[in-house]
Amino acid sequence: MLDMLCQIPCACGNEETIKKYIKTKTDGYEDSIGNFIVSKNDGQKKLMIFCGIDEDTLTAMSIDGKKVYVTHQGTQKLPLGSLVSFGGYTGVLQAKDAAKPDKDLYVDMLTGGFENIGAAGIVCAEYTTEENVIFTKDAAEKIAVCAMLECIDLKTDYDASFVFGVQSKNNNKGAIVATREIEPDFVLSFEKTKSEGLTYKAVGKGFVISSAAKEKIERICDKLDIEIKPEADSEQPSCVQALGAPNTVVVGIPVRFFDEIRQACDIKYKDIIKKIIKAFLEEGK
């Protein structure tokens, strides 16, 4: 499953392909923004388990011959000269001024005929595994989504929602919509972190973890003998503010090459994340 997830395209605002795959694994519904939600039970307390499924995207804004001018959703470095696919049409990423590689981007199409303004393009970047490491786009999030899917049938007394969130690269709009609709008492979410070792977001821009959330994640990880430390780096982009529920735990999964288009992540974190999810579900009182 992890291999498949790492190879399926998932453009921001256009996550249909990966949702189609997720729907082969479980039943659920989509909200208005496109989050795919699997709901379980009608328990008293609501738990939302969340992870973003989209990747950095180049949206076609205007076309001039073979030049497709694009806007970039996301924060990863997109190397000039990369191959960009609009699903059937391919081109090479360029900038009007090569000295400013993140401004005035366009895709120089290999062939003519592309007319689809609004189409979502993604950078073609090979997925590789070596021993226990995967090297792919949004490696940490892929591992978390795989873990969530493998936990979906676990029993719980919570009114639990597994949210496969969209538009995480567009200021976490999916997370905002999901939280407003579901109104969870508790949120458990996953994203990548620069830190070495597993972390949880303690402090961020305009955010401090609640004492209940802090106590819960530390207690659970202590019981499972999982090493986790608080992270107080307010500069990393995070979904923590977007989630905004009363008790929110955002677990950071360590990756290398944090800012690059592909990151390296140890596969061992899949089982660790599964243990944490299972422990949260079992606590549903």
Partner: protein, 331 residues
Amino acid sequence: MELLKWLSESAGASGDENKISDFIAGEVTRYCDKVFKDNMGNLYCFKQGTAENAKTIMLAAHTDEVGLIISSVTDDGFLKFRTVGGIDESVLLAKRVRIGENKMLGVTGVKAVHLSTTEEREKKISCADMYIDIGATNKQEALKLVKIGDYATFDTEFEKIGSLLKGKAFDDRLGCFILINLLKKAHKNSVWYCFTVQEELGLRGAAVVSRRIKADAAVAVECTTCLDLPGVDKDKTSTVVGLGPALTIVDGATYTNTLIRTKLKEAADKFQYKNLAAGGNDAGAIHLNNIKTAAVSIPARYIHSPVCVVDEADVEECIKMLDKFLDTEEF
């Protein structure tokens, strides 16, 4: 055009929209099934659809405009002010403004070129260095004419120039004008026509409106940036006057819903796409309340300045597009 002239020339900066929404309510009540205002000043006008399985659509246009607010009065009787909403302060110099309930005329002063140094002329002036002259000779006299906290808006006449329209506050009185025209007619779907407030201060009215109204779809009807001027690259124009209403794909606040955007495109005889992902509008607040949302905008040159220019034909095309869209059966 009399309606549009009134809307354009009337004063209603963010936080001071009551007169505008009261006028609109007066214009539209007889066409609607329900009309009311909330505590913030948002105006809600509902029309039941004629179809058996009518869906509910929200159209949103904001009543507020960018303007100024009087912050203090100098001993010599000059008014100090701050901007309300996003205004490039360089457009404020040497302008006519109307202040307060009594529409007191004032001018934003600037030092005569004969008296300024080269350094002064090259420096960008902020509104902290500016003042409004209302012809008062001292503070007491000034305070008889205006109050601290009074709003000031640009004093611009609405008129035709060539084939285009010129005026102030097209953002978003044009959107209001479009909504008023649409609600005079019945449609298959039920429609909430929402005249929101405080958009220019961060989409505030729309955030409240969209928590209150449950809709199957929403469209923000706006004015947007337009830089189709000599020397500007084609991919940097944002929109072009005369090419029809502009559909937003993505902007600084929203990735518009593909289905709703497609339905708008199918309903249009003429349209364009906004080619820059900058700015934002009420759609940015609405879509976060679980409503499928898109945005359509009239290209307006020199937006957020004392005078903007639009093409009347773009407005007519937008009305036609939305008129058809409101009869869409599949969402």
